[in-house]
């Protein structure tokens, strides 16, 4: 490696960082600025009902809005066996100003179900302000609806105004929306700072290199340059010996996820497909990601012990073996993205530009798997039991990750377990990008990067600490 190579690597890394920063800003759109608010109003159980709303009767209620953007309001009505007719108007008022109006046909109002009012654009600018929900109609007597209400669950001080009367309690309604993410207004500031830090790191490393001093970063890049031929040869070997003597060859990388997906689809579609948007694509994306994780870690596991003859006879940096296995699994992953993409197009997923953010999470998944692979390959040298234990663990891990079932079916009290599962985050965010065509919230990016880095650090540290003993135990 020489100065030119180093300069090239640094320049390319910096450009990648800059392009990612800008692209992310535009692709993430509103997701960068807002996240789903958790403390919005939701009173949906009823213990009583208001009187019938007929011509001249107005039910109104003041409430304090807690979200930055109101995306949706839900109200629950009942007809109490009356035959509904006429038009019902729901107004959202701020003082005397009308903010939003929705007119409903009374006959179409479902019985004791949420009626959703979704404004075309989120209602902005009323955070911490008092808003009024006003409901009135032109129905004749015995043809109107009543609003479900709750006295016990209503927040203290809430009152319902019915005509001229005022009673304690709250109507059954819910407001959901998004709130501003505080740090995203500093997005350019933070990313600019990171960019400067990166540039400073590169400049310092470069100057140390030109003065002939050793530097960790430069050494790592140098190793990549020095061993790229060996790594590529090992990757080629993995592929050639994997598919040698099979008729379909590399086509299996293509076919495998599709077949697994088909089997799982046939088995599980009756249970889960109704709850999930585009279930086959949901399933296939999960299968592709998890198969990669499974294959990569299992291949890394035996990468040191399987090359024992080589390691005890020739000097090669030992991390090359798990690294080469991870690279060949990643190429496999890239091949299996083709059926995923085709299936998405065929099954009607509208691929939006945001889908490209998918790769960020895939790269995190690859780094995460490499970390685990390094850890396992080192452990395997000393304890051969790991290979059997790991095959059981990956099975448990597969069932603990929402691959063929939707995450929502996990009871709320066990949801926290899933939140500690890195694969849940990687796979979940990949799906958000691909299927929903939107970017996950900014914290998701930070979490996934953190999971990947912690795994890589633990793996690399264990590997480095134990690698000198490998030759003695193999």
């Amino acid at each position: 490696m020489n100065k030119n190579n180093l300069r090239k690597v640094f320049t390319i890394s910096f450009i990648v960082f800059a392009v990612f920063t800008v692209a992310f800003y535009f692709l993430s759109g509103d997701q960068l600025k807002y996240r789903v608010a958790d403390d919005s109003i939701s009173i949906l159980e009823a213990d009583s009902v208001t009187p019938e709303i007929t011509r001249g009767v107005t039910v109104s209620q003041d409430f304090k809005n807690t979200v930055d953007n109101i995306d949706q309001i839900a109200v629950v009505f009942t007809k109490l066996y009356r035959e509904g007719q006429g038009l019902l108007t729901i107004d959202l008022m701020s003082g005397n100003d009308l903010v939003y109006r929705k007119i409903l046909d009374v006959s179409e109002i479902p019985e004791q179900h949420r009626v959703f009012l979704s404004p075309e654009n989120p209602i902005r600018g009323f955070k911490d302000k008092t808003l009024t929900l006003k409901i009135y109609s032109n129905s004749k007597t015995n043809q109107g609806v009543s609003v479900m209400m709750n006295k016990a669950l209503a927040p203290a001080g809430s009152r319902i105004k019915i005509g001229n009367q005022t009673i304690d309690g709250s109507i059954c309604f819910a407001v959901s929306g998004t709130e501003k993410i505080a740090i995203s207004q500093y997005y350019w500031f933070i990313m600019g700072g990171l960019g400067l830090a990166l540039a400073a790191l590169f400049i310092v490393s470069y100057r140390q290199f030109s003065r002939g001093r050793s530097n960790y970063l430069v050494a790592a890049i140098g190793a990549m340059y020095r061993y790229d031929f060996l790594i590529s040869q090992l990757v080629i070997r993995d592929f050639k010996s994997k598919y040698k003597r099979s008729i379909l060859g590399v086509f299996w990388s293509f076919l495998n996820p599709l077949l697994t997906m088909t089997v799982q689809f046939l088995v599980f579609s009756t249970f889960f497909s109704s709850d999930t948007q585009n279930y086959p694509v949901y399933l296939l994306s999960g299968v592709v990601c998890f198969s990669f994780f499974n294959e990569c870690t299992t291949m890394c596991l035996s990468s040191i012990s399987g090359n024992a003859r080589l390691i005890t006879k020739v000097y090669i940096p030992k991390y090359i073996f798990p690294l080469a296995r991870t690279i060949s699994s990643s190429i496999n992953l890239a091949i299996s993205l083709v059926p995923l993409l085709l299936a998405s197009l065929v099954l009607g997923v509208a691929i939006r530009p945001q889908a490209i953010l998918f790769f960020y999470f895939l790269i995190c998944l690859i780094i995460f798997s490499l970390g685990i692979g390094l850890f396992l390959s080192a452990l395997m040298v000393f304890f051969r039991d790991i290979q059997f234990l790991w095959s059981v663990l990956t099975q448990i891990w597969m069932y603990a990750t929402p691959i063929f079932y939707p995450a929502e079916i996990i009871p709320e009290k066990y949801r926290f377990i899933v939140r500690f599962n890195p694969l849940y985050h990687f796979i979940g965010n990949c799906r958000t990008c691909l299927i929903n065509g939107i970017s996950p919230e900014p914290m998701a990016y930070i979490f996934c990067l953190l999971f990947a880095m912690v795994s890589l650090f633990i793996g690399a540290y264990t590997f480095k600490k134990t690698q000198d003993k490998f030759a003695l135990y193999l």
Binding site: F229, L230, S232, Q233, L234, I236, R237, K240, S241, K244, R245, R309, L310, I311, T312, K313, V314, Y315, I316, F383, R384, D385, D468, A471, L472
Partner: protein
């Protein structure tokens, strides 16, 4: 002016060997609980020091288990010494076990590239030397065949050709001159001599004292991990013969 290519200072190598092979968690756990987890320390090398100058050939002699192969592995970097230091200057080509990196499913050609990469050759270098390797190994007709179909002699010839195509600064050889048929043995022996005369510093292990006497400038006699004698070939070989009772 001579410069040192290999400096070995006070190198000690201990192997911890348990009485039984403990290769699983359960075994380690149960023996540890029983209080039987004891390791026998085995001293493979005990305070070995020597230096080798550029262009010289050093022979290692001694009985089985004297520590010859361990020394070679330490110098090639495969093992790390328990204590002491080893410094080498220049690229090392270890011919410890030829063809260790062969993959039986791959063809001869693919294996040339794979094995060459393992030995640290660059792609350009391998491409330029490809024909030389194939011709030297005399396997041109079989080069696109998976090497699982090769005879053991063909495989050994190919391995030797790959390993010896480079002009190394330090060459480490462990009893590999008996490769292939008589004609090829002759050819490979000449190639070795060529490499040595090309300025390579050579470490050479053999039980064949004649070869040692023919090729080496200096000899180390090891016994049970200790240096018994280090000096000029004649001197050490004579003493060794006397001690082991080999007649001249």
């Amino acid at each position: 002016m001579t410069e040192n290519m290999i400096e070995v200072e006070h190198v000690t190598m201990k192997f911890r060997m348990s009485d039984e092979p403990l290769n699983s968690l359960k075994e380690v756990f149960t023996t540890a609980v029983k209080g039987k987890l004891r390791f026998n320390e085995f001293l493979a090398l005990d305070d070995v020091s020597f230096v080798l100058e550029k262009g010289k050939t050093l022979g290692l002699i001694g009985k089985n288990g004297a520590g010859k192969s361990t020394t070679l592995k330490l110098i090639s970097g495969i093992l790390k010494p328990t204590s002491g230091s080893i410094r080498t200057y220049g690229n090392i080509v270890p011919m410890l076990e030829l063809g260790a990196g062969f993959d039986l499913e791959l063809t001869g050609k693919e294996n040339i590239y794979l094995n060459g990469a393992i030995l640290g050759y660059s792609k350009e270098y391998l491409e330029s030397k490809y024909d030389e390797i194939v011709d030297f190994a005399e396997i041109r007709d079989f080069i696109d065949m998976p090497i699982r179909n090769y005879s053991s002699g063909m495989m050994a010839r190919l391995a030797f050709s790959i390993a010896s195509v480079v002009q190394p600064e330090i060459l480490i050889v462990d009893e590999i001159l008996a490769v292939g048929d008589v004609a090829f043995q002759e050819k490979s022996f000449n190639r070795m001599k060529e490499l040595m005369s090309g300025g390579a510093t050579v470490l050479f292990v053999s039980h064949d004292l004649e070869k040692i006497e023919e090729m080496c400038d200096k000899v180390i006699w090891l016994n049970k991990g200790k240096v018994v004698m280090f000096g000029d070939t004649d001197e050490v070989c004579t003493a060794y013969k006397k001690a082991t009772g080999i007649k001249e």
